[in-house]
């Protein structure tokens, strides 16, 4: 009966109800679009980070992680082949690949640039085509040795293209200067400007020759499913001898962490603005409703409603309004997301090296959060006018019936 009364009252003043439902729906749909976009960007960035830089898990020595080594060579992991073999037995691991990273000078004709080399193992990772987007040429074949793939920004600055021959100069872990000639196999674009401007890829064995070592800096582990990260991390850590630690990608990816934090702050501000709107809208709607129904409140109080049930009745109306707004907002949000995705709008994201097409995802969590927030804030906002209704002087309220 009470719910029936609440629903009928909500539809009593159709225009006012439509207005406040529209207000809540606007807020909820804005939140869904915004969150969906932010989360999509984040997931996209996360996937890219995993594929091109961190893998899902990274094993390295403790002195590497805490940067406490006296000499760079002390940070390296020995016996990498054996470790790799063991890791490859794990059913949830797609592959494990040794990494060395170093700074070197790349010379193309009369241009020389300092850049960061990152090693890959084409033997286990394939030609990198699945992880990196090549805008020219390709990655490495299994038996290519003295080859590099350049980041797009780096290639531009070097005026280099695939097939070009470059000289790569660096120094070994013992401090001896060493150089090799390498051929450019292709030019890649990760989409993160910082990465594309400064990095080149090189097969692990070439890097080991250049740096004169058989060891690796990190063992990068890629899983079949990102959701297994924590579980596999635990298993590996348990099996590692002391002196080495395995870390998940979320801990290592600095940019990802920063953007996640930034997103959280942004989401909170957004939610706050939208909640304020909902609060004001509902406050007004229920406030007007209480004011107009003063006589009716007097009547039901005379019939024997106590202040608590009157309070509940109006809170229920606020809740019904909030729920209707939330549902409309979800429908509207869904339509907006579908339309925006269909329009394929291109934008330049901060820190990106190329335009991306806006792609907004549907996230159950975002729907749940937005819906909950809308209903909760509607009820909270109803509280003030509902309280006023419940505390009315009955005799005076009754005199308002005409």
């Amino acid at each position: 009966m009470r719910l029936k009364i609440a629903i009928r009252n909500v539809f009593r003043n159709k225009r006012r109800t439509a207005l406040s439902i529209a207000m809540i729906a606007g807020g909820v749909s804005a939140m869904l679009v915004f969150n969906g976009f932010a989360l999509s960007v984040l997931i996209n960035l996360g996937t890219k980070t995993i594929q091109t830089q961190t893998g899902h898990l990274q094993i390295a020595t403790n002195v590497y992680w805490d940067k406490s080594a006296d000499r760079p060579k002390d940070t390296l992991i020995a016996g990498a082949k054996q470790l790799q073999k063991e890791l490859h037995k794990h059913p949830k691991i797609a592959f494990a690949s040794g990494r060395l990273s170093f700074f070197g000078l790349l010379t193309a004709g009369d241009r020389t640039l300092s850049a960061r080399g990152v090693s890959f193992e084409p033997q286990v990772e394939g030609d990198l085509g699945a992880s990196f987007k090549f805008i020219e040429g390709r990655g490495f074949t299994k038996d290519e040795l003295y080859h590099v793939a350049l980041g797009s920004g780096l290639a531009t600055r070097l005026h280099a293209k695939s097939g070009d021959s470059l000289t790569l100069l660096s120094h070994t872990y013992d401090g001896v200067v060493n150089a090799i000639d390498v051929t450019v196999t292709g030019i890649f674009q990760v989409g993160i400007a910082e990465f594309d401007d400064n990095n080149f890829l090189i097969p692990l064995s070439a890097a080991q020759t250049l740096l004169d070592t058989d060891n690796i800096e990190q063992m990068i582990i890629r899983l079949h499913n990102t959701s297994d990260t924590e579980e596999v991390r635990g298993e590996i850590q348990a099996r590692l001898r002391g002196g080495a630690t395995v870390k998940p990608w979320t801990e290592v990816a600095v940019l990802y962490q920063q953007i996640t934090k930034f997103n959280e702050v942004q989401n909170r501000i957004m939610a706050f603005i939208i909640l304020s709107l909902i609060l004001l809208g509902i406050l007004n709607t229920i406030g007007m409703s209480v004011f107009e129904r003063t006589g009716e409140i007097g009547t039901v109080a005379a019939l024997g409603e106590n202040s608590r049930t009157i309070l509940w009745q109006f809170l229920l109306e606020g809740g019904v309004l909030g729920l209707l707004g939330a549902i409309s907002g979800m429908v509207l949000g869904t339509i907006l997301i579908v339309v925006i995705n269909w329009l394929e709008i291109k934008v330049m994201m901060p820190g990106a090296s190329t335009d991306i097409i806006i792609k907004i995802g549907f996230f159950f969590r975002a729907f749940l959060d937005a819906g909950f927030l809308a209903v909760a804030s509607a009820i909270v906002a109803s509280f003030i006018p509902s309280w006023r209704a419940s505390q009315m002087n009955i005799a005076e309220a009754l005199r308002r019936n005409i």
Binding site: M1, R2, K4, I5, R8, N9, R12, G295, E296, T299, V300, A301, A302, L303, G304, E305, N306, S307, R308, T309, I394, A395, L398, R399, N401, I402
Partner: protein, 229 residues
């Protein structure tokens, strides 16, 4: 009559030295000054008095809607001055049927739902309260208007629904504040006939206010409000 009600005695209303004053700025208005009233079970009592004489104020005090400035009121054995606001609400829900000059039906509810409403407050099961509400509507001759909403009904019909709403829980006391003031003469007569009939047949005690001389004739007793003693 059962033992319980015999213990409570034949007095439904016992008001002694009831005073109600309102503060208006620095001045006090005292519509009720030391009023005494006793209402026997089964009476059909009219409160008479001109407009502004304090009829509504008095009915509100008897019905536990308002509290007196001084004096004591007992209704069906319950001393109202001892009740807190929640207990007063419960007292109203259990003991009082209200009929208003402006009908005061809930516009969003059908006639049947309006009559059911007091039973919701008594936490009665839906099927039970529906049956009782149907019965009450039949008693006021509106069995065909069950699904109608108040805006679709005439004044007389609305007041009948209101009477059914007041009677549905079979309260010991029905208070009606100028129940016919918003009706034309013929309908007013019909409404009064209906109330008198229910009073006769069910033995329900009625206290109603009016300033209409023709209506006063029908009362079993007249109590003048606002007369200087």
């Amino acid at each position: 009559m059962n033992e319980e009600s015999q213990k409570r005695g034949q007095l439904v209303v016992l008001a002694s030295a009831v005073t109600k004053s309102y503060q208006m700025g620095s001045e006090f208005i005292t519509p009720l000054k030391a009023v005494d009233l006793q209402v026997q079970r089964g009476e059909f009592l009219a409160l008479s008095g001109s407009s502004g004489s304090g009829k509504t104020t008095f009915l509100n005090l008897i019905g536990g809607i308002d509290i007196p400035s001084s004096g004591e009121i007992k209704v069906d054995g319950v001393p109202l001055q001892r009740l807190k606001s929640d207990q007063l609400a419960r007292f109203r829900a259990e003991k009082i049927g209200f009929i208003f000059q402006t009908f005061n039906l809930i516009p969003t509810l059908s006639a049947l739902e309006n009559v059911e409403y007091p039973l919701v407050l008594l936490r009665m099961k839906p099927s039970e309260r529906r049956a009782l509400a149907m019965e009450a509507l039949a008693r006021v001759g509106l069995e065909k208007f069950v699904k109608h909403r108040p805006p679709q009904m005439s004044g007389g019909q609305r007041q009948r629904v209101a009477i059914a709403r007041a009677m549905v829980k079979n309260p010991p006391l029905v208070l009606a504040d100028e129940p016919t003031a918003n009706l034309d003469a013929r309908t007013a007569c019909e409404i009064l006939d209906l109330m008198a009939k229910l009073n006769r047949e069910l033995g329900t005690t009625f206290v109603f206010s009016t300033h209409d001389a023709r209506i006063l004739e029908r009362a079993s007793r007249i109590f003048k409000v606002g007369e200087v003693a």
